[in-house]
Amino acid sequence: MGAQRVEMTYPLILSGKEQIRTTFAGASNFYPGYTYQIACAGPLDIASAIGAARQAERGSIVQRKDLLKIAANEFNYAQEDIEHAVRMTGMPIKLISSLFAEIPKILRKVPDQILSRFNQIDLDKTCLAEKISLDLYKVLIPNPGFCYAITPGNDPRATALVAANLTCLGIPFIIRASIRDAAAPMVIRALIASGIDPRFAQLLYLDREDPNANQNHAHLVEACSTVWTFGPPAIIDRTLRFQPNPPRASLDLEGVDINPADVNALHALLVEWGPSGLDRRIQLETSLVDLFTGKNVLRHALGNCAALASDQFTEQTKNWLYASMGYAIVCTATKSIMVVRGNNWVNQAAEFLDSLVVGDPLDSETQVGYIDSNCLDFLEELHRKNQHRATFFGGQRISQFQAAPLLVHSQADVPDFFAQEIPAYVLACRYCQDLNEGIRQVNHYTHEQPRLAVSLMDFPPNQLQEDISTLHTQTILVNKPTTSLLYAFHEGNDYALLLSQGKLVAF
């Protein structure tokens, strides 16, 4: 495919104004030559956003709920937006279309979900409140300051999720969107069109290649009260949380009979030692500054979602299975399944996965899209490494960016597939005697931090009541795929409580 430079430019949206001062280029990893422009926020754009967020009107909960409903109606997008998201993520267009279509639903449902718990009965209508008893309420006061949210490139719903929760809870925000996130500007535009204070919802981008990007990010973190990140801690810590302090050198003066405060004596000593003498005594020290110190931080634990399934393999199971693993690059994708009392489940699953249409993600029939080549290379390496310890189905490499879905079946201990999250179309499977063993196996491959979600498919309800509380996970989904988005509780976070200060009011 030849170079395909589109005229699209993603603007900053600051105080309701769309701004493009300087731009940088974004490019698709999957479609060579596909490039577009993104407005880059400079330090004064950032200052302007910070000042506006600090001044934003928060309104009452009733007003905010109404505004979100209007925003849901105002949200609109074009086919080219969807195609852009496909080119940037490599995900099939059918999946991307469904994610875009879910955005208005998020904007409507979040206030419903939050208000159903904190329904502010009999109290000041400006606040959320939990009615504990007739004379006791817990009032949720929005956290002061504003939220700086860094949204990911692999989920077009992320900005809507952030915006809906923060708007509902009354916290102004500045979104730093991924350059791969095609939906972010449309969500912010819809909010602005709803009539919200334009200072409440702002959008900017930072060019990671800009030498000042880290400084600008640090400044935003410093100014905000809440930081909202997506992605595994290992990546967030490295990219968004810690920054290096300037290196320091220390001098070992052990056995040296001088007063270290006597600079002249120290100078004389350094001259006497010379470079070779200094080499033995000088030590370079590096340290990191934790930008998140003192901030309210919303983040999630490791993904590595798992499932437990009964031996049934029905049409419903197929739909569930595709929904669980077909959105391969997100942290809520299911990466391993324990099948209880199974004997033919793997073969049926392999047959099903083999039937999935692998192709150009822009093709509406495609079910398996493109994956970053590094991930596919890594997967191939794990395949080779474990080829005698498991049975492999599918996984044929079709191109640099594409491979057939890989199903790995093993009754042995294979943590490479059962214990780690690989953003590709891959599923590890193991048969278990009963649900308890399945739960033990899921927990066995869970790290210290709980999994984001575990799904249970086709189990009798009475059996679930007995067992599932021992699962080491933040969320348990029954007959729903792990990729199900819980709008007000994504990734185990209870946003209403995390973004508010609860105050008890007794009458």
Binding site: A47, S48, I50, G51, R54, Q55, P211, A223
Partner: protein, 424 residues
């Protein structure tokens, strides 16, 4: 601030200036010491032709050439050996006085003085009694080790008074309140304070430990309507030594981030603001500062004044609100004559002749009323383009206008030049 309607008031040659001119031409004044420092605040210097000006300052040029040969022999004995001061009568005679450079300019056969002055900096202090009790200000040394310029109290008075013409062209009037963020240990920072004070304005300094928020607070607390600040470009922020100060960028940044201070430097929601004028001085207004003005300060006039440790003032732009039809805005600068004679020249045989309109040349100056370091046709390394001949600028100031003043940097270290030494 001066109202636009009052601009013409400063465009007439003062009677005292005419009297001074007559006395000089009559031979009653032949020594610059006979000039009171206040004469340098008169606008006449900028309102007469170059020919008249040259006739007025000729005795003092002759005096300083004579003095330079005698009192600064290490620098000038050989350099000015062929020049007979008494034989300088016309501008053409003057153009044959050799150029003095700090660094070797081999293409022109010029030998720089930096090396010998680095070995003995006192070569730059005149040995005669006039230069006793001098303070040494070092130039930035962007191309090597800094060299000193020696100045006496009287020299300071002359330059301070001369700078007041710049304040006039910027619209400052007695009673204005000025806050400046410049470094008071630098010559420019000291002179700024004293010239503003002398001009009759209220002056507020920034203490070194005060950050941008405190400066904004002080602007509001003291009802400041004029801000003198450095124009540190954003690109240089990563340099620790430059990032420490307050500058236009950080003040705008703090104003944006702290909306409580909107209405001070940046306009509030009603479009009202307190600061009526911003001085961005030292050198050219860099592109980033112009971008800031365009994007955030569209209603606030900005101007500059060219000066250095060696000579203040050299040229200045005017307040665009006072001179809306003028062509002397931002980096288009009227030459300011007195107490230094400013020229833009190019080589022509054995002479250095004035450039013509549109041509670029070396900016040179001669300190014809100075007790301390005497500069005779000294080219510190700046080039300028002659934009308008005298009398051509519609603003009414008669002196020529130059533009694109920048440091000639054969080593290509333009960043040091562009960003200057204006750390506040």
């Amino acid at each position: 601030m001066r109202a636009p309607a009052d601009w013409p008031d400063i465009l007439s040659v003062e009677n005292n200036f005419l009297l001074l001119e007559k006395k000089i031409l009559d031979g009653k004044i032949r020594d610059y010491h006979q000039l009171r420092s206040e004469v340098f605040a008169w606008h006449g210097w900028d309102l007469i032709s170059q020919e008249r000006l040259f006739s007025m300052i000729l005795p003092f040029l002759q005096q300083q050439v004579q003095r330079a040969r005698r009192a600064m022999p290490g620098l000038y004995a050989d350099h000015l050996e062929p020049v007979r001061p008494e034989s300088i009568h016309t501008q053409n005679d003057w153009h044959r006085v050799p150029i003095l450079v700090k660094d070797d300019e081999l293409s022109q056969g010029l030998q720089g003085f930096r090396q010998i002055v680095n070995e003995d900096p006192l070569l730059l202090r005149p040995s005669d009694p006039a230069a006793q009790a001098a303070v040494a200000f070092r130039s930035g040394g962007s191309l090597g080790q800094a060299t000193p310029t020696f100045l006496t109290l009287a020299d300071r008075e002359r330059e301070i008074q001369a700078w007041r013409r710049g304040h006039d062209y910027h619209g400052l009037i007695p009673g204005d309140s000025v806050l400046y963020t410049y470094n008071t240990t630098h010559k420019g920072g000291q002179w700024m304070q004293e010239s503003l004070w002398t001009h009759g304005t209220n002056v507020y300094l920034r203490r070194p430990e005060e950050g941008p928020l405190q400066v904004l607070h002080n602007l509001r607390a003291f009802h400041v309507n004029v801000l003198f600040t450095v124009q540190q470009p954003y690109e240089a922020m990563s340099r620790q030594e430059k990032a420490a100060g307050i500058n236009l960028h950080t003040l705008i940044q703090s104003s944006l981030e702290n909306p409580d201070y909107l209405g001070v430097l940046l306009p509030d929601s009603q479009g009202q603001k307190q600061v009526d004028f911003i001085f961005l001085g030292g050198f050219s207004i860099v592109p980033y500062a112009l971008e800031l003005v365009r994007n955030y300060l569209t209603e606030t006039p900005v101007a500059t004044l060219l000066g250095s440790s060696e000579a203040i003032p050299q040229a200045c732009s005017t307040n665009p609100q006072l001179t809306p039809t003028g062509l002397c805005h931002y980096n288009n600068l009227h030459l300011l004559q007195g107490p230094h004679f400013i020229e833009v020249v190019k080589p022509d045989g054995d002479a250095w002749m004035p450039v013509k309109k549109g041509e670029q040349g070396l900016l040179v100056y001669t300190s014809w009323a100075r007790d301390g370091t005497i500069w005779i046709r000294y080219a510190p390394g700046d080039v300028a383009t002659w934009l308008l001949d005298e009398g051509e600028c519609p603003c009414g100031i008669f002196s020529p206008v130059v533009t694109d003043v920048r440091r000639l940097d054969p080593a290509g270290r333009s960043d040091l030049i562009l960003y200057g030494c204006a750390a506040g």
